[in-house]
């Protein structure tokens, strides 16, 4: 036993780790994240395992949430308010938007509270803190998959065939993940210092919901403003889903590029802000 361990200890001339005050804004150490991919996996796995523990309906919640919302919207917006739906049956029109939206709303909520919820970890163990909100955002994808399966069933029921550009749909999913991560990075880091964030999130999500073409098509936005509507990346995501999965809605056009650019800007800003605040998490949380 002892000889084995002794041989493991190599005499090193280069320090493995240098602990020092953070140097400069550009020191992001993103490559370092890869060393912790196993921990990321375990955190995601824990979130998935624990999410529906001790619930009677279990994973059915992943489907029930968007389905119930679809039912209500179909009655009030589809039937009663006669909301236009680009020629798509209203339930499918709403559900295809609700699948990425529910993912986004849940992932954002979880990610924003993730650092505070893991404060005992943050105070006791070192690892790149970025993997905490990242884990929350990834864990949400499991629910997304269940909801997506129901979407396929619904399309069968209404006899809707996917468009030829269905292969582009993962790009829009990635856009949704990026949006949730970007906003989650900002809000989780802010939440460490200001618990106000926790109370702001339900309101923020509600506001964001109506700013996203879920219950209405983006075609009701005047054409000259539509491109700028894409500044809300979720608008791009939802239009992208309708376009690639259902194939019936029109091509979203330049709006998508605005959305992609918005996500990239938000994400880069979020990573910098997060890294800047990271060193104080253990002291402040």
């Amino acid at each position: 036993m002892s000889t084995k361990t002794l041989s493991q200890i190599q005499v090193r001339s280069e320090p493995t780790t240098v602990v020092q005050p953070r140097k400069g804004l550009w020191d992001l150490e993103l490559a370092h994240l890869w060393d912790y991919h196993e921990l990321l996996f375990f955190l995601v796995w824990r979130d998935v395992k624990v999410r529906y523990k001790q619930t009677a309906l279990g994973v059915a919640w992943a489907i029930l949430q968007p389905l119930m919302a679809t039912l209500i919207f179909s009655i009030f917006f589809g039937r009663l308010a006669k909301m236009p739906s680009d020629g798509i049956p209203y339930p499918v029109f709403a559900y295809v938007a609700l699948v990425p939206w529910q993912y986004f709303a849940n992932a954002l909520t979880e990610a924003s509270n993730s650092l505070v919820a893991s404060q005992n970890l943050i105070k006791k163990v070192y690892f790149p803190r970025l993997i905490i909100p990242l884990g929350s955002v990834i864990a949400g994808l499991v629910d997304f998959c269940f909801a997506f399966i129901v979407l396929i069933g619904m399309m069968f029921h209404y006899g809707i065939k996917p468009s030829g550009s269905i292969f582009l749909f993962p790009v829009f999913l990635l856009l949704a993940v990026g949006t949730a991560l970007a906003a989650g990075l900002w809000l989780s880091a802010l939440n460490v210092q200001f618990r106000d964030v926790k109370h702001t999130i339900p309101f923020l999500i509600q506001f964001w919901f109506f700013a996203t073409p879920i219950v209405y098509p983006s075609s009701i936005v005047p054409a000259k403003w539509r491109m700028w509507y894409g500044i809300n990346p979720m608008a791009g995501v939802v239009e992208g889903f309708r376009y690639t999965v259902l194939g019936k809605a029109g091509r979203p056009g330049p709006m998508i590029w605005v959305s992609a650019a918005a996500v990239i800007v938000m994400l880069i800003g979020g990573v910098f802000y997060f890294r800047k605040m990271e060193s104080t998490f253990a002291d402040v949380v």
Binding site: M1, S2, T5, L6, Q8, I9, V11, R12, E14, P15, T16, T17, V18, V19, Q20, P21, R22, E38, L39, F41, F42, W45, R46, K49, V50, K53, Q54, S118, N120, L121, I122, K123, K124, V125, Y126, F127, Q193, F194, R195, D196, S279, A282, D283, V284, V285
Partner: protein, 442 residues
């Protein structure tokens, strides 16, 4: 070996005052933000900045070689935890740097990241990953961990159903099977029952014998003495002493008491900090006298008398009050407890205001050495005020037995006598002696 494992160069950590508050709300912090901005502008003018901050750690430089087991000791708030947090990268230093050669595992608390809903098996993987183990490593050590924790039957039960003992055992078992080159440990030994603590200690010394480097924070001087060759004493965020573990402990114990302003035989307790005052700071002063009321300046000679005069206040009239005095060795082990409850002729009647209670020990028979004195006051059988390290007493060598030889070894002396007795005789001799007796009897 002799190669360096940790090299700390001028480490410092500054905290802003008030950041220790649990959290801020935006509303509280907005005025602070403007005030802070205004102050910064003013500070630019006057050249002063960061007035409301304090250094939890400053100018800390030391080297630890591979295979060393180094203790870190110091009173609460001396910066021990901050140092460990910096070395394990949980928080960044404000200045200075530390070069670390080798994989670091830190045990600042066992069971970090345990999830109550997950089973023992699942938590072993989760916690192992959090502590920095690779999945393959956890798989290979899984059986060993389960066996060490003695939870075989419950490995597939959610840990929320575990007893607290099982929970702690499992948590420690995972931690104990980490194999980092440098292990940073904070007070984990204060967990579990006595038998398990022994097991943990055994594991620690096993690990240290394997040639791994350990940095170890503890209040238990006996454990530091036992496990560590070297120790660092921190005081107010600075290194006060570093060197041989036993010397460091000696230095530390002396310092602990020095903080209570001691002038010769009088220890002023009003400013003592390491205390629990439920009712108030009632204990005021402790005076030490030897035989014939000579003040104890240098120390008390082994076997001579010791008189402790305890000055305290009774804020309200009380019928029942008691004072306890504990003598503790350098290693924090209680050697002797004197308590007024043991006095058959206790004073009766109601008392209020300043009191002096005297404890007289006719012959103080603890072995020569330094002892710290813990003192506490109970009013109506409830703890009212307690001070750790209230005073110290040095026991000096003496010719206790009157033989010209100073006693050595052991914790205390007891009067004892030696004399010679007739050895029991062999059977033949007994018979002969009996026959001689019988003859002479006739």
């Amino acid at each position: 070996m002799g190669s360096i494992a940790i090299q700390a160069e001028g480490l410092g950590k500054r905290y802003r005052l008030g950041s220790s508050a649990p959290y801020k709300t935006l509303r509280e912090s907005l005025p602070g933000f403007f005030r802070g901005a205004a102050r910064k502008v003013r500070a630019l003018g006057s050249g002063r900045a960061h007035e409301e901050s304090f250094w939890a750690l400053r100018d800390v430089s030391f080297e630890v070689e591979h295979g060393d087991v180094v203790g870190v000791i110091g009173r609460n708030g001396a910066g021990k935890s901050t140092l460990l947090k910096i070395l394990s990268r949980i928080t960044l230093p404000t200045e200075g740097r530390a070069l670390i050669y080798g994989r670091v595992g830190s045990l600042l608390e066992v069971g970090t990241g345990f999830h109550p809903e997950l089973t023992g098996r699942e938590n072993i993987f989760l916690n192992g990953a959090i502590m920095g183990m690779r999945k393959a490593e956890i798989v290979s050590k899984f059986d060993e961990i389960v066996a060490f924790a003695e939870v075989d039957k419950f490995v597939d039960t959610p840990v929320k159903h575990y007893s607290s003992g099982m929970y702690v055992r499992l948590a420690f078992a995972i931690a104990a099977h980490l194999e980092p080159e440098i292990l940073i440990v904070d007070e984990v030994l204060a967990v579990g029952d006595l038998a398990f603590q022994q097991k943990c200690l055994g594991k620690m010394s096993e690990v240290s014998q394997e040639g791994r480097t350990i940095l170890f924070v503890s209040h238990n001087m006996a454990v530091v003495e036992k496990l560590c060759q070297r120790a660092i004493v921190l005081q107010n965020g600075r290194i006060d002493f570093q060197g041989d573990a036993e010397e460091a402990i000696h230095h530390y114990m002396n310092k602990m008491v020095d903080a209570n302003k001691a002038e010769g035989h009088t220890f002023d307790l009003s400013g003592a900090t390491d205390r629990r005052s439920h009712v108030g700071r009632l204990l005021k002063r402790l005076d030490l006298y030897g035989t014939d009321d000579v003040p104890v300046i240098e120390g008390v000679r082994l076997g001579s008398g010791l008189k402790l005069k305890v000055h305290f206040d009774l804020p309200k009239p009380a019928r029942s009050f008691d004072v306890g005095i504990g003598f503790e060795s350098m290693f924090g082990q209680r050697i002797f407890t004197a308590h007024s409850l043991f006095e058959p002729d206790r004073p009766s009647g109601e008392r209020v205001g300043p009191q002096v209670f005297v404890c007289e020990i006719p012959s103080f028979t603890l072995m020569p050495g330094l002892y710290t004195i813990k003192i506490w006051l109970d009013i109506n059988h409830a703890e009212a005020d307690l001070i750790n390290y209230a005073a110290r007493v040095n026991v000096l060598e003496s010719d206790y037995y009157g033989s010209g030889k100073a006693p050595w070894n052991g914790a205390f002396v007891l009067k004892h006598n030696w004399y010679v007795e007739q050895p029991p005789q062999l059977e033949g001799e007994v018979a002969r002696a009996a026959s001689i007796g019988a003859k002479s009897g006739t």
